[in-house]
Symmetry: C2
Subunit: 287 residues, 2 copies
């Protein structure tokens, strides 16, 4: 059985076809995200070479995942103007005429890491991605957590670092975690991208301080067995020990978290967690 996966990111789309097992990718393509129509044309072009029986979509957000809602499967209030209100699921169903399954990119990535990656064996698994934006998804006993709608988790409240004059870049909250610790926040604060600031230790101390606080907020609410931290900003591998250290300091002995080295970990699926997770949405929904 051939299945398709689409990681519909805000910056790029990744499309893949797998044979029998979502990890067994036999063809893959990646292209920049353009307008909805031109982007879906590229998606169609790629998949027409393959006879796929179902397709899973891991989309950037916010997207309406409330099945009770009239706009289920459509984008909500995204800053990407042309995608705002775009009925992604309906359009894909029209395009494919096979079953289409949709969730968010972060939720799908969490599902893939839970099944095959760093979250293997954990009953409750949180996946946090820190790229241009910041978001998290939770999988518990094989199911993606969803409240009234999918949660992005990117806007929790944190305390400001005493040595950080930046007031945050979140258009809603200013200094929430996305406003203070996303890739965009780093760029706006320092006038340079994270990758150009690799040698500046202060940057990563502050970044770790904020991410540790977000993890504490998630932890005390969700008590996950694994916290998987991925995304472009986490390519700065020195962040992991710093975050673990700040997290331990912030928690200050409240709750037995076990080994923090085993709790807060890097993803293991080599940037394919999104597209593999997209295909895993099929398995979940068909079973």
């Amino acid at each position: 059985m051939r299945i398709g996966g689409i990681e519909a990111g805000g910056t790029k789309f990744v499309c893949a076809v797998s044979e029998n097992d979502s990890q067994n990718i036999i063809d893959k393509v990646s292209f920049p995200t353009g307008d909805p129509e031109e982007t879906l044309d590229e998606v169609k072009d790629f998949f027409k070479k393959h006879q796929i029986e179902a397709v899973g979509v891991a989309s950037f957000g916010p997207v309406d995942l409330n099945k009770k809602s009239k706009t289920y499967g459509s984008f909500l209030n995204t800053p990407k103007e042309k995608w705002k209100d775009y009925p992604l699921l309906d359009q894909l169903k029209t395009l494919f005429d096979i079953p289409v399954f949709l969730d968010t990119d972060v939720n799908a990535a969490c599902l893939a890491e839970y099944k095959y990656g760093a979250g293997k064996g954990a009953d409750t698994c949180l996946y946090i991605t820190v790229g241009t934006g910041l978001g998290a998804g939770l999988v518990q006993n094989g199911e993606i957590y969803q409240g009234k709608n999918h949660s992005e988790m990117g806007h929790v409240i944190i305390k400001k670092h005493h040595d950080d004059p930046f007031n945050g870049c979140c258009p809603y909250h200013g200094s929430c975690i996305e406003g203070m610790a996303s890739g965009l926040a780093i760029e706006k604060r320092y006038g340079k991208k994270g990758i150009e600031l690799t040698e500046n230790n202060r940057v990563w101390e502050i970044e770790a301080y904020y991410l540790a606080q977000a993890i504490m907020n998630y932890y005390v609410v969700l008590i996950p067995e694994k916290v998987i931290l991925g995304g472009g900003v986490l390519k700065q591998e020195k962040l992991y020990p710093l975050i673990r250290s700040y997290f331990t300091k912030e928690m200050n002995g409240y709750l037995d978290v076990g080994s923090v080295d085993e709790l807060i970990v890097a993803p293991e699926l080599n940037d394919e967690q999104g597209v593999i997770g997209a295909m895993e949405l099929i398995g979940r929904s068909l079973s």
Copy 2:
């Protein structure tokens, strides 16, 4: 069928017997929480009058609810010295020789409000209690949320009010939500109990400011359909409109929360949500 419910609170125990339906309470007693042995003797005395077939226990925390754990059903690191490490579930099983079901008081209260009270009809229901301490529980599609262990949610990070010199009373984190907004925090900050401060508007402005932030943290992670706010501190009914107003301000248009008056509400089970919820644990587990 007669069933028993025990709300094992840190201050008082409530025991009740119901006939067929958990809400149909035919006998009830309440007494202060003493040492474990004397308290359990009182529990035993009450129930020996009734032939109950199962008992549910809604306990103060933290209690180990990880079924994989060797100390499952025992208290963890509670400030109530004599209850620390006390094997509550094992002792109750010895006492009763009938099925015993255990969860936290907040989780049980959430379950009761979800089934019969303010959370009726909501798929995802959060119950927050603000008494001496502060905690929250989540019920989703009839199931109590639990990660690796039960989450108390009482220690999320919040921003300090510009006009509040108090540094918080949480022994672990100082100024987390429990440290800033619990009944104990009010008492430590002002040297008086909340009930003596009813007329002081500034007290409740600050209290609402903090609780709104905690709700925002819970909301963006869990996206509940209902947020039920109970506990002794919320007897100050003026808090509800203040909290709703600060919550709306903090969220600042991020996410469509619907009507905030319908989202953030008071409990409806007249302080019996704990003991009714305790009995509901039986139904859940036997079914």
